[in-house]
């Protein structure tokens, strides 16, 4: 009897349901709902907002990537949950699970789907980077992608621990206030006078490293008026956390009025500033101090610093 049963194989149990279809039917409405919520409800409030072209494009990019990521994440979660419920160990069941053998169809589908997603994101990311003139990021001293026309040039000068802004098209005045006109292409020329900082104008979607002796160019186009928070995004020393200020995007008339008034108000200090340049070399000034030192005319520090703190070799 036993031999006959062994020859016939194990007794046939109830037919396995179509688990793939079940998982699909659970996943599909959840993924659809999640995508709709992300796109229409959450999307318009995603950072960094839509104050500028680069900010709006970044918001759009995050929406697209979220819409693509949510179904993948839900597929993992739904499949995990379904597995735990359906194939959990039941009381008294001490058998080993069935051996796992390769499934070419599943493997091929997984590789194909993930490849399509990654390649699509690569193409999408490249297009978004090129079509938005660098997506608000620093493009280095020789930007590849530039807006047409004549942008407003604002030089961002970082120094431990303060940002100042120079407007070369308005007499080269320098100020601690970042003010921009709405509806205007803006070219930020970002540099530093000491260590590496990072100019991060959050609501504008602009973020560019400020490197000493380097002009890092970033573009954006202002689209709405409002306040802008500027922060240093590169750990730069004791007061890095306090290196922030607030800028404004205002109407064109208000900007013109501010710019001309500030040019006049700052005229006296502007006359003492170095000529506008893409980068500055403050250590050359220190070289002058070195000359003082060698001539026995110590600079600040009263000569008590000694040779161990020689200029340019601090």
């Amino acid at each position: 009897m036993a031999a006959a049963q062994q020859a016939a194989g194990p007794p046939a149990g109830p037919a396995e349901p179509n688990h793939g279809l079940r998982v699909l039917l659970i996943w599909l409405p959840l993924a659809l709902a999640a995508d709709l919520v992300i796109w229409f409800v959450w999307g318009p409030h995603l950072p960094p907002g839509d104050m500028s072209s680069s900010a709006a494009n970044q918001q759009f990019d995050i929406r697209v990537m979220s819409v693509m990521a949510a179904p993948v994440m839900l597929a993992v979660l739904v499949y995990s949950g379904y597995s735990m419920v359906t194939w959990r160990t039941r009381d008294g069941d001490e058998e080993d699970g069935p051996p796992i053998e390769g499934n070419t169809k599943v493997q091929f589908s997984w590789i194909a789907v993930t490849s399509v997603i990654v390649l699509a994101l690569f193409v999408f990311g490249t297009v978004e980077l090129v079509s938005t003139n660098g997506a608000g990021a620093g493009e280095g001293p020789s930007p590849i992608w530039k807006p047409g026309g004549r942008p407003l040039v604002v030089q961002v000068i970082a120094q431990q621990w303060l940002f100042t802004y120079r407007y070369p098209q308005y007499g080269g005045f320098e100020t601690t206030d970042l003010v921009l006109p709405v509806g205007q292409d803006v070219q930020f020329n970002v540099t530093s006078l000491d260590v590496i900082h990072s100019f991060w104008a959050y609501q504008l979607g602009v973020k560019a490293d400020a490197n000493p002796q380097v002009n890092n160019v970033a573009y954006t186009t202002t689209e709405h008026t409002g306040g802008v928070t500027v922060r240093c995004a590169e750990l730069c020393g004791l007061w890095h956390g306090a290196m922030f200020d607030y800028g404004q995007v205002v109407s064109v008339a208000a900007f013109q009025s501010w710019a001309h008034a500030t040019e006049t108000r700052m005229a006296k200090i502007t006359r003492t500033l170095p000529r506008y340049a893409l980068v500055y070399y403050p250590n050359e000034i220190a070289g002058l101090a070195k000359f003082y030192y060698e001539a026995g005319l110590p600079g600040a520090g009263g000569g008590f610093y000694g040779n161990q703190y020689y200029p340019n070799e601090p």
Binding site: W161, T164, L193, G237
Partner: protein, 233 residues
């Protein structure tokens, strides 16, 4: 070794480690210079007079060759080596700054302007007091020995370039706090304190040439060339 001896040894070792950590945290990581209080006895609406000095040396810290600030205590009249000053809110602060250090060029000449003070001006001893006695609003550190340090509170827009002492090699300050009889400049200015809060202040000149490639040493140490205004109601 008995169980008791091992337990005691373990306990002692544990307490030694905890004690060491406590010492490092309290005495090194959380250590900060004292606060000089200008609010005690202050009458609302009356100005506060504050006297500070920037010295090339000090004899009161473990960094005697670092540039640093002293402030005169309103209670004792003695100089205190600290950069944390407690001030009443919405009050005019009349500052007298003695500066014993020699000059250096600013990294950014923009910080040669006077701003955030009453009238956006300051007065410096021994110099023409600006146009028509209205006070000085700009100092060019590249062409004159005009600046040794700055007193700057970026959040409040305050920036005051403190005049540099012309080096002669005679009568220089060699002990801090410096004696008023040694060579120095005197800068006076006033500012209005804002609402209560902590406002950091710093110097924008690479003090002592030790910081040409970034602020280090005295420039990055509270109690020397940076600190904060503790504004209280």
């Amino acid at each position: 070794m008995s169980v008791l001896a091992r337990a005691v040894t373990l306990l002692v070792a544990f307490l030694a480690v905890v004690g060491g950590i406590f010492f490092v945290v309290v005495h090194i990581l959380l250590a900060e210079p004292p606060t000089v209080d200008f609010t005690a006895g202050h009458v609302t609406g009356q100005p506060v007079n504050m006297t500070i000095m920037a010295d090339p040396v000090n004899d009161v810290s473990n960094h005697p060759d670092w540039v640093s600030y002293f402030v005169r205590s309103p209670r004792t009249g003695k100089w205190v080596h600290t950069t944390i000053w407690q001030l009443p809110a919405h009050t005019r602060i009349n500052v007298t700054a003695y500066q014993f250090d020699t000059c250096d060029p600013l990294r950014n000449q923009f910080n040669g302007r006077v701003s955030g003070t009453v009238g956006n001006v300051m007065s410096v001893s021994g110099e023409a007091d600006g146009v028509n006695g209205k006070g000085i609003s700009v100092v060019n550190s590249d062409t004159t020995c005009g600046v040794a340090h700055t007193f700057s509170v970026p959040e409040l827009g305050i920036n005051v370039p403190l005049g540099g002492e012309t080096y002669t090699g005679k009568n220089e300050c060699t002990q801090g706090p410096c004696a008023i009889s040694t060579a120095h400049t005197t800068t006076t200015f006033s500012f209005i304190t804002p609402a209560p809060g902590d406002y950091r202040w710093q110097c924008f000149i690479p003090c002592g040439l030790a910081s040409v490639d970034g602020n280090g040493h005295a420039m990055s140490t509270i109690g020397f060339m940076t600190g904060y205004l503790d504004v209280v109601s």
